[in-house]
Symmetry: C3
Subunit: 451 residues, 3 copies
């Protein structure tokens, strides 16, 4: 009686063991394989970071091309220096404030300043992606105050933005991106700003506006009657390349913000492309309607505003909504350019506030109206609208106030103030601050001595 | 008697259940893992799209550097505007015509214009990749008609190319790329054009040729005896950077055309690199042999023609074949440049037809002679040669005829014709159409007033 | 008695068969899935190669912007030509010497010149990555000898570097990268140079130094008393963009050197970013301390030297070590620039030796002091220091000697020597060698005739 039972039990056990060993082999291989998706997330995020980094080259070309020849080297150097400093100071302080363990959702902290040798791979990849984001927020200022702000003052401003202003506001909106369990004030309210229309671009835009107000317009920007004069940059060609490069970089900016190698980025990037195109289309058409002319700055403002506008909602919006966001953001940036110049007599040399500040605010708010009901992060669409408005307003209050105070204090405490001397401004900052001039500067001098 | 049977059956069932549950767990994980390869395809295709997009910056620099200073802003603006418009119009119409459900292999259709919120992730990724391809085809025109075509006319041409000419021919060759079950006239015949020597580059090249013929040469291009004069662009430095950027972008253009993250792209990209290099080598050598001089346009034409030439066959050709394709494509483009200028008195300002049209046709045909027998898409090599020739010829007929008629009609129907006034042409389009000039333009004016 | 046993055996067998078939199905799917990680390695390496290729555009802009207008086209053409030639000659000879079957760890060989149709996918991907590396090593020379070396002579130098100097030294350090079983002289000693501070950058730097010595300084670089004069490049704006682009490309240079799509690159890329930033910071600070001025070349030298310095140790160093490497490498390059100019009266037009040679040597040696004990490739830290020093010294001996002899022989054997005539040097190589000038050149001529 027992024999067959024993036989079957023995067979059973031996088979179970074989199966178990085979299964544990399979499980081991499965585990290794599951690493591959993780690896892919790293690859995607890092390649997207390279694209966002590329935006630094775009900003440099856009801004250097938009200023006069005599200040072009200065602007280019500011673009290098701000990336250097924002990497250093965001690395040492900002990253911790923005993504560290949260203190009541208000700011992050932990004592691991730069001690990345103790942290995991993902933190490194995430760090690289966030450094280049901070670089974007910090560099927006450089163009708007071009041709008149002292280089040293600009360096201090970059440090302040990348170590304090940007990361603290960033913590409110994105503080839970690295440590998911973190509280994060705005995010917890349901604020949606997927890739930073407000967090990155409006922050940059408000800083730029504050600086422009404190430092005042360039000599000759407004005539004796206060009428704004057009100051033509020395190379709209470089500015145009810069615009295309920014557009390319934006694919990484928005698409990479998934920080995952999954097709979530597919519709995001399609939206980004389309919104930029419709922003450009809007401004080419409006511009031609205004004065039968295709002024080069307009198409660029249009494309960039379209890109800024879609950044907040690129994930939650449909393709048609991207069309609407692009078209309206472009138009609004063009309108804002006119308003701040003609009505408020503010001289923003590269339209940084209209493009990054105004279109950023617009894009952050309008998404609440256009997004699908099912994706709301709040209880109702009305709540979503309120939260989006509150985020935009909070950004304005926090950033503008702090930046304004900072520039005022800096202006008072620097020996000669924040602004270069009138002589230096007329001479151009290339020579005044960098002892260097473009080849064309040499020509100009030759011509003057000839005359 | 029954007990042992019962025991073994019970054991068996319980074990089976355990195994089944474990297996279903494994199957679930396997399914998730199989997503990863799919995700990788998205990542690769999207990154390749970013590289192709980068070619827009390359074209802008190449063309702006190759024209005179007074038209450089105009060319740059055309490059921004054509990408804006081709995104809008290829997005709204062309994409559907090219990749929608096929009507007899002749054109695609479906009613989901831009309603991408209803489609799947792959369609979005594929769309982004195809939009930047269309942008390439559309932008080829901009350089060849530089310095004399009205901006408005150029905008209409871009719309026509990206909404009609390119996508319909594209459907014949690639109509089954998105919906594999689609009929696609040329593809079904066995026509091989892997990444678009004909579909993209020759289409652009034939449009450029038609436009050059309709609009005529620039003032001063041919002297009173019809001898072509060399018009030197204002910045061969920018043109050189543009060439390098195009080369880089081409890695994505050809490698990304696999639309899959698999090592199929390895030999494709190696071929691309090598063919570009041998194209450049050919023209550096030939150029030096002609006049002991290293004219900058030659090396650039060589590299670009080598890249255009390998585009059709990069997948099916061996490394040595890539050497041959590169060397011959470079030479042919140089020869074609001489022929259209000296023999046909056609003024193609950036050699767009020789590089994209002639080398594209050559590369499409020669692959049939060089490819391995085993990879033929037709019954015999002879058939393959015939099909390749037919595809090239059909492209010439379709594109040139349509473009020629379009430009003729446009020329008649625009108030002042397709061409700017003689005054504007002499003044330069920077000022005439964009109310802006380069810094050097300012200098020039100063010098003239001085004289 | 037998029935139950039979029943259980039959059950067992049938179940085993089902399980076996299910298992073989699982195994098959697992195998396919394991391809995905391999595919991801290809994707990462290829995308990194595109970034490294991008450095060619960066070098072109940096160098063209750093020379005078009259030589800018020449420098740009050298940058195109050297990539063309290094692709051709590294492809045909160098790749084999560097990575082929090793002959005693001294040089590689096999007869498969360019017969890549017989090799596997990985070899193609690896080839593309290595070609762009060789391009970097080869192009470093172009800037340092700018404004005075004959174009033809430069072409020969490129061929010699990419076919002989670079790949043979490369074999000693990296000869086992493709065939892991290869002997590789320095690697077998425990020499660490992860991404090529020595293998790529110092090789380029030593070639540049040898060439500068043989060819002598530019007319006007040293005054009659031997005091070095500052020769200002015509566009520090383009040079600045070039620097940013090089920085971006370096993410691929260092990160891609893992040739694997795994998070090993995460800390590598973070280190790269940080070291570049601290290099820039060092030189901005030191420069301002020297003369209260922000000379544009300093920030660029700083960033680039920081990047060169971290290249060898990016994998084995911690974040804080990257800070140290960056800061010191920047400083050392600045110091070396002064020394070779003031003490040795060597005219290196773009500071190629200080940046690539000096900072490269420094970075390769210092890593042995900073790296974690556990990662030593030798028995003790002392041994590691010795091996690193020996590698650096061997590179200097091999490269400098060979390059010096080569340039001497070339100088004697070329009809008019390696250097252009004094007339040509004064006229500028744009016109002398390329029959072309920048738009500003036209202006200058106009002004001269006016005067």
């Amino acid at each position: 009686m027992l024999t067959p039972v024993l036989v079957s039990i023995i067979l059973f056990i031996s088979m179970g063991e074989a199966a178990a060993s085979e299964n544990s082999n399979i499980m081991e291989r499965l585990k290794q394989l599951e690493e591959t998706q993780n690896n892919l997330n790293h690859v995607w995020t890092m390649m997207a970071a390279a694209l966002v980094f590329f935006m630094q080259a775009g900003f440099l070309l856009l801004e250097a091309g938009t200023v006069r020849s005599k200040n072009s080297i200065n602007v280019a150097q500011k673009n290098i220096a701000d990336f250097v400093l924002s990497t250093v100071f965001f690395g040492m302080f900002g990253f911790m404030l923005m993504f560290g363990d949260s203190w009541n959702g208000l700011l992050g902290f932990d004592m691991n300043l730069f001690s990345f040798n103790k942290v995991d791979d993902w933190t490194f990849t995430f760090f690289v992606f966030q450094v280049v984001f901070c670089g974007t927020a910090a560099t927006i200022l450089s163009g708007s105050v071009a041709e008149r702000m002292q280089f040293v003052g600009y360096l201090f401003a970059t440090i302040f933005i990348s170590a304090i202003i940007y990361p603290i506001f960033g913590h409110w909106a994105w503080g839970n991106l690295l440590y998911a369990e973190n509280a994060s004030y705005l995010a917890d309210l349901g604020f949606i700003d997927f890739a930073g229309s407000t967090v990155v671009h409006s922050v940059g835009g408000w800083c730029a506006l504050a600086a422009c107000i404190v430092i005042g317009p360039r000599i000759g920007k407004f005539d004796s009657e206060g009428k704004p004069q057009r100051i033509i940059g020395h190379s709209p060609v470089l500015a145009a390349v810069g615009t295309i490069i920014l557009w390319i970089g934006w694919l990484g900016f928005n698409g990479g913000s998934t920080t995952a190698g999954t097709p979530q980025f597919s519709h995001i990037i399609a939206n980004t492309l389309i919104s930029g195109a419709f922003g450009g289309l809007a401004n080419i058409m409006i511009g031609y309607w205004i004065d039968d002319n295709f002024r080069p700055d307009r198409s660029m403002i249009g494309v960039l505003a379209g890109l800024v506008g879609i950044t907040a909602g690129c994930d939650v919006l449909s393709t048609w909504s991207a069309v609407i966001v692009g078209f309206t953001s472009g138009s609004i940036a063009l309108l804002a350019t006119e308003i701040i110049e003609h009505k408020f007599k503010i001289d923003d040399a590269v339209a940084a506030f209209p493009v990054h500040g105004a279109a950023g605010a617009w894009g952050t708010i309008i998404l609440a109206f256009l997004m699908d009901e099912s994706q709301l992060a709040t209880e109702s669409r009305f709540d979503q609208v309120l939260v989006q408005c509150w985020g935009v307003l909070l950004c304005a209050i926090w950033t503008f106030t702090l930046a304004y105070l900072f520039f005022k204090i800096l202006d008072k405490s620097m020996p000669n103030g924040l602004r270069v001397s009138e002589d230096h401004e007329r001479m151009g900052l290339n020579e005044a601050e960098h002892g260097t001039s473009l080849g064309t500067g040499e020509l100009l001098r030759g011509m003057q001595s000839l005359a």
